[in-house]
């Protein structure tokens, strides 16, 4: 969370006068500031010895990075959704349901063609953008403070959690209504794996951003 405006100058002054970080935190806590507000204000300064307090890189907003991350996450969403659609249709054709309409097989073939076409374009773009952004962050760890990065990652986590929620609910509903076929279980598993992989990876990414800053 962001530090309250009046707290940062106070912490700067206290650090300049040589007070320890724990001492400053204790004083602020006694004055009624919350633990999060205190930590945020102290986090604005790096814990390195110098004549005066050294500010940490503050979160920033860059149009160029907005472009990078928008392309990266658009390619990620397109890849994940169409990989899911492709796997769904392959499962449908591999395990046909006698209650399907005759036209379902034709529709599945058309969906497979679209899914392949989108994957062939979007997935290499996602890989390329991932590597580009990954290299940029490795070379300049201050880029982890990008606001677009934080927001897009959080948004992606939110979407992944929503999908897992829906997937879990659908699984329980089908279990309760007795329609739990191997075909449905395979599809639920596909969704859980896809959303789980995205969630796991970006959760780790977000945590590392916080640690390294």
């Amino acid at each position: 969370m962001a530090a309250p405006d009046e707290l940062v100058p106070f912490v700067r002054e206290a650090l300049r006068l040589g007070h320890g970080r724990d001492e400053i935190a204790g004083t602020l806590r006694r004055a009624g500031w919350s633990k999060e507000q205190t930590e945020a204000a102290l986090a604005a300064f790096a814990d390195v010895p110098f004549a005066i307090p050294v500010p940490r890189p503050a979160p920033y907003l860059s149009a160029k990075e907005a472009f990078w991350y928008l392309v990266l996450f658009t390619a990620l969403y397109l890849s994940a959704v169409n990989l899911g659609a492709l796997l769904f249709n392959l499962i449908d054709l591999a395990l046909p349901d006698p209650t399907d309409s005759e036209y379902a097989a034709v529709a599945a073939r058309e969906s497979i063609r679209w899914a392949i076409a989108i994957l062939v374009v979007a997935f290499p773009l996602f890989v390329f953008m991932s590597r580009l952004v990954g290299r940029a962050v490795r070379e300049d760890p201050a880029k982890r403070a990008s606001k677009v990065r934080k927001w897009m990652t959080s948004l992606t986590l939110f979407v992944a959690v929503c999908i897992l929620l829906g997937d879990g609910a659908a699984l329980i509903y089908h279990l309760l209504s007795g329609a739990l076929t191997s075909r449905f279980v395979l599809k639920a598993l596909t969704v859980a794996l896809l959303a789980g992989a995205v969630l796991g990876y970006y959760l780790r990414d977000l945590r590392r951003d916080d640690e390294e800053l």
Binding site: S79, L83, L86, L87, N89, L90, L93, E102, Y103, A105, V106, R109, I112, R113, A115, I116, L119, V120, F123, V127, S130, G134, A197, Y201, R204, D205
Partner: protein, 137 residues
Amino acid sequence: MTRRAPGTWLLLAAGAVVVAAVVAGLLTVGGAGEARLERLDRERLADLDRIERALARDRTRPLPPSLDRDALALSEADLTDPATGEPYGYRPLSDSTYELCATFALPSTALGPRDPHAPVGAYAAGPHCYVVEPERP
């Protein structure tokens, strides 16, 4: 970098899944070549349907001895095979019954379910002739 980051491994695994799924998808629906053959067969069926409807338009006159583009108000493309350019086979059997012939690249099942009452019926890959009888009023 000798040790790869977990992100790289995940990306490699995702790439393997994507490639496997795309290959499985292509094996299921057939590649561009097979899709082309399906399109050509659909066009043949559409041509034959247009010819049938053009011949059914004027029931008062007997069937013509051969298919004439101007008399039937059809285009040259409607009367010829889209791949070879050969005209479709046509033979009047009586005043109102005739036979149409076309050569299909794939069996009729490749195109999925179609109108079971269509005169062309089910067919195998290769030349196929069928008789068209006018519907009884």
